[in-house]
């Protein structure tokens, strides 16, 4: 029986809050010209992150994107993905699934050692699954990713068998995520405080020192031998060390890049990316995150959006394209799909989102919202057509918040009163738990289309306040539920694709969501940095093959 609990990992985007645009009046940096040719060993690279500093460097604990970004440098997973989204070997060399889908057997590499000297073997895999599943670890993302694993059996030193409680077509995709990466079992036995400060993995770098609220220093793993199957070359990392800094202010972060204090920055804002285009010493890396596209969810669980006509009217009334054009300076492309553009199984239906204010007006009339009050808002039975829209200022960048304001203005013309409520994270969770919303935008990162099950299966309409519920559109459709469960249990690729297409059609045609764009994930690097690439799994950059031109 498929699990009724919502399972599987999820991690949503965090975007730094502040953004004051600083005019780029100097190219800074002092380097010019493309240094190409042979990679050079040595040097210290400074990475400046705009995300919140993780409270724990072990991504098993909690499990968010800032943790994934840094942990990619020192932890590795059983499998990875290539650029086409195909699962490829990493710490596991091959795997087989039983016919009933309940037993998976993985062969492990026998020549890998954790950086504390502990060998990587079947017992290590068992210890990691146990660590993630232990309630004391307080894992959220990893815990959901491994929810269907019932038992782990070490068949021999380098063969491990996973027993599942239900078939899981997303198991490999889940295992590719850094939130369930492999850590040294010996290191996991330490206190949580110690393990959070310096987790031990098999990756190209090792956590050396963590100066809180300043930086984490990572040094090269001189015995590194386990790159994923798609990595170029199998050699040692080139960089001696990485200084991983936290610079929350967007303008300061960009200034640090320009002045050469930082070599790579993340959370580059649209205006910054635009101004960097004219700077020869800065290059961009655009790595949209997998999982769901950024979208506005229409809460169909309560009035007025329990009426599909009102949902369609809202979607037809607001012009999102123009806002994205003007606010994102061409750095974000409009999406018409529930899934990220990096998901091969995503379905786009642009025709459903053509702006048509006349049709919107007719739909509202039809739904009984046919009068207007003194301020021009539509009214039905003496009640104004009001929509509450809590906005998480931690998760929406300033450009996105401005976009919401434009949507608010468009909706007003059509007769909707949209109340935007900018909230900090805890208050935002609180508003959702109390069902105090009609519109909401919540990012969601996960590898693979199974994210649809988490977001739109009716089991994810969890009664508040027991926890976060992911089905914020509160879609409750028996046919959709059936499709999503089938898709998550089938191992036939063609059938799986077909089931996910039908599921997405129901979501889009039901007017439950207004897709905006991929989860933005822009990095800027100095042109002296070479060999940087984003992992095809959760789009975090890896410095395994990066080098600094002298």
């Amino acid at each position: 029986m498929p699990s009724r609990r919502f399972s599987r990992p999820r991690a949503a985007a965090v975007v730094a809050a502040a953004a004051l645009f600083l005019a780029a009046c100097s190219s800074g940096g002092g380097t010019s010209g493309e240094a190409t040719g042979e990679p050079v060993s040595g040097g210290t690279l400074t990475y400046a992150s705009g995300d919140a500093e993780p409270s724990c460097l072990d991504p098993h604990v909690g499990g968010n994107y800032p943790q994934a970004l840094i942990a990619t440098q020192y932890l590795e997973s059983l499998v990875s993905l290539d650029d086409d989204g195909e699962v490829i070997p990493w710490l596991a060399t091959e795997w087989t699934e039983s016919n009933d889908g309940l037993t998976w057997e993985f062969s492990l590499r026998d020549d890998v050692t954790f950086t504390d000297g502990t060998p990587f073997d079947a017992e290590a895999v068992a210890a990691n699954v146990a660590h993630v599943q232990d309630p004391a670890t307080a894992s959220s993302t990893g815990y959901l990713a491994l929810a269907k694993i019932k038992d782990v059996v070490a068949v021999d030193d380098h063969t491990v068998r996973l027993e599942l409680s239900a078939p899981d077509s997303a198991l490999l995709e889940s295992l590719s995520q850094v939130w369930v990466a492999m850590e040294s079992p010996k290191a996991l036995e330490r206190s949580q405080e110690d393990n959070c400060a310096a987790p031990v993995g098999t990756g190209p770098f090792v956590v050396d020192q963590w100066e809180r609220q300043d930086s984490v220093t990572l040094v090269r793993n001189d015995d590194y031998s386990s790159p994923p199957a798609d990595a170029e070359g199998a050699g040692l990392p080139y960089l001696d060390s990485i200084v991983w800094r936290f610079i929350p202010d967007s303008a300061s972060r960009y200034a640090a890049l320009q002045s050469g204090e930082a070599h790579v920055i993340d959370n580059a804002q649209p205006d910054t990316i635009r101004s960097a285009e004219s700077d020869d010493s800065i290059e961009e890396l655009d790595a949209p995150r997998p999982g769901a596209a950024n979208r506005i969810e229409l809460n169909s669980g309560k009035a007025p959006f329990d009426d599909e006509r009102v949902r369609e009217a809202f979607i037809r009334a607001v012009n999102v394209d123009d806002g994205i054009q003007s606010l994102f300076f061409g750095t974000a492309e409009r999406s018409y799909s529930p899934l990220s553009s990096v998901e091969p199984l995503g379905l786009s239906l642009p025709d459903l989102f053509t702006v048509d204010t006349d049709a919107a007006a007719d739909l509202l009339d039809e739904a009984g919202w046919d009068e207007r009050d003194a301020e021009g808002y539509r009214v039905k039975d003496g009640k104004r057509l009001t929509l509450d829209f809590p906005v998480s200022t931690n998760q929406s960048i300033p450009a996105e918040q401005s976009l919401f304001e434009q949507i608010q203005a468009d909706a007003k013309t059509a007769g909707f009163e949209v109340n935007l409520h900018p909230l900090d994270l805890s208050s935002w969770y609180g508003a959702l738990a109390q069902n105090d919303y009609n519109l909401v935008s919540a990012p969601y990162t996960k590898v693979g289309p199974d994210v649809l099950r988490i977001l739109y299966h009716s089991a994810s309409i969890e009664p508040a306040p027991s926890g976060y519920f992911a089905n914020l559109a509160q879609v409750d459709d028996a046919e959709l539920d059936e499709l999503l469960i089938q898709a998550s249990s089938t191992s036939d690729a063609g059938e799986r694709a077909d089931l996910y297409e039908r599921a997405q059609r129901i979501i889009l045609e039901g007017h439950y969501i207004l897709p905006l764009y991929d989860q933005q994930n822009h990095f800027l690097r100095s042109s002296t940095v070479h060999g940087l690439r984003a992992m095809p799994t959760v789009s975090t950059p890896t410095f395994a093959g990066a080098w600094l031109a002298p």
Partner: protein
């Protein structure tokens, strides 16, 4: 606090042991400190817990991670969040009374350790800013006193502008000027003395404007005082008169404000430490508030309140050192 009365003074004369009246004053003052700390802890605790929101979500990874119900239950139990608010408050207060600041759940470590790691950086920044602000204020006053009517007007105008600029804007301008255009100072904090220059300057400029304005008023009165005329008659130079006599007079009200200024610098650190990516309590406070880490927020507020009361005491002492009249009263 007995230091207030045993401060070595340059003048001769017998110092006396505290009189019974003074002892009572001391007790009252100590009681006042305890009251301030209790009030700070209580207000912070309730202000944070009464805002709607769920700290358990924040504990489980914060932005971007979505926790399952089992994990949330576990966290609520572990941190006592399932208890009634009043019980949580009394438990917390009881622990505070024994000197235990508690465990920070957002940092996975004791609050005292977390504060210990960050306090030095903020203290260094605040003290550097305070010294720099005084230097700037005195320099501007000295220049404008000598420069006649026009310089006076310019100086006064500059102070007004300086006192009004917000930290955030000033920081951006300074980065633009010193880091991106001139390329002489790093735009973000770096190890060593160079890294503290821009953050300290950002905090010092508005403060200097404020101190300067306060000084200017009394500077004007002092310059017209008989002792200045006497000094002139003795043939002392204007520069010497300024540094030896008038500035001393003018500084008294401003020194009295330094305690307040120190408090305002700590709050300014919230912005400045974030912009320049510096370590420090201001940044800890910001993220702790966002994550509803009540124990950490309260811990920081308590430490800042303590630093503030100590600083007020120090300025009281400084006041006496500058102004012999104050000293006469205690002797």
């Amino acid at each position: 606090m007995a230091g207030a009365l045993t401060l070595p003074v340059p003048t001769t004369g017998a110092r006396r042991s505290p009189a019974p009246g003074n002892r009572r004053w001391l007790l009252l003052r100590a009681g006042g400190v305890v009251f301030v700390l209790w009030a700070a802890a209580t207000i912070t605790f309730f202000a944070l817990r009464l805002i709607p929101g769920d700290p358990a979500e924040a504990i489980l990874g914060g932005p971007g991670s979505q926790a399952g119900p089992e994990a949330l239950e576990q966290v609520r139990r572990e941190y006592g969040l399932d208890q009634p608010l009043l019980v949580q408050y009394l438990t917390y207060l009881g622990r505070l009374a024994t000197g235990d600041l508690g465990q920070s759940y957002s940092l996975h470590k004791p609050v005292a350790t977390a504060i210990g790691e960050q306090f030095g950086a903020t203290l260094a920044l605040a003290l550097c800013s305070l010294v720099l602000a005084w230097a700037l204020a005195c320099a501007l006053a000295a220049w404008s006193v000598r420069g006649g009517r026009v310089a006076w007007a310019i100086g006064s105008g500059l102070e007004l502008v300086a006192a009004a600029v917000p930290h955030f804007w000033l920081a951006t301008v300074l980065i633009l000027l010193f880091s991106l255009t001139l390329g002489i100072l790093p735009p973000v904090s770096v190890p060593g003395p160079l890294g503290i220059v821009l953050p300290a300057l950002t905090m010092a400029i508005p403060l200097a404007g404020f101190l300067g304005q306060v000084m200017r008023e009394s500077l004007l009165t002092a310059m017209e005082s008989p002792f200045v005329t006497t000094a002139r008659a003795r043939g002392e130079s204007e520069v010497r008169i300024f540094w030896r006599h008038t500035l001393r007079h003018a500084a008294i009200p401003a020194v009295g404000l330094s305690g307040w200024a120190f408090g305002s610098l700590i709050s300014g650190a919230v912005v400045v430490e974030s912009v320049f990516a510096r370590q420090g309590l201001g940044r800890s406070l910001l993220s702790a508030v966002q994550l509803r880490d009540v124990t950490l927020v309260t811990g920081i507020v308590l430490v800042v309140a303590l630093a503030y009361t100590v600083m007020t005491l120090v300025t009281d002492l400084a006041d006496r050192a500058i102004d012999p009249r104050g000293r006469a009263v205690t002797e």
